[in-house]
Symmetry: C2
Subunit: 112 residues, 2 copies
């Protein structure tokens, strides 16, 4: 837990991409909401996007679950800044573990 | 239906990789049984593997479903030869649509 300003939440747990099985990576990306989150993050500077800032049609508990899956797949890193939880895509680390996979899902067609 | 020797089954329906959304491709590969099927097919000459020849811990109806998902994702082509339904991995076509994705799942770690 960070010492101040994070309210009552526990700090988010992360998995490094090096520890992510390929099945976990594929399953994390094989979801339209999570793919939208990843794509929006890819288009934003690191640590600028709070969890509530994404244009996805799900409620807060579902969104929280999706971010948990993305953290567990080594795709997203989060930290608390005051009342906001901000995000970055772990692009370089994920690319090193699964070369080309992010590029593929980022460049692919409009969400199909 | 092919005219002779195929029993009562309808010929399998296929989807060309060019018509496969990226989410469908990812979801098809994000399953341990299907990933095993794809890996075994990648290691076998085309049209040599009958559906019953794979080392996966599922019954026939589930296996049939998995092959249906793989056909629908443009990953596998099937044809009936007498009582056998034989398979090939659509490697070139799938690679053209999703460059690097098959290579990634084929080279990745032992099934995790």
């Amino acid at each position: 837990m960070t010492p101040r300003g994070t309210g009552h939440r526990a700090a988010p747990e992360h998995t490094h991409p090096d520890d992510v099985p390929v099945l976990t990576a594929l399953a994390a990306l094989a979801d339209p909401v999570r793919l939208t989150l990843v794509r929006e993050l890819a288009g934003s500077p690191e640590w600028t996007r709070a969890c509530g800032s994404f244009d996805v049609p799900v409620g807060k508990p579902a969104l929280s679950h999706h971010f948990s899956v993305l953290r567990g797949a080594g795709l997203v890193e989060q930290r608390d800044e005051g009342a906001r939880r901000v995000n970055r895509l772990r692009r370089a680390e994920f690319d090193a573990r699964f070369p080309g996979l992010l590029e593929l899902v980022l460049r692919a067609d409009p969400l199909d």
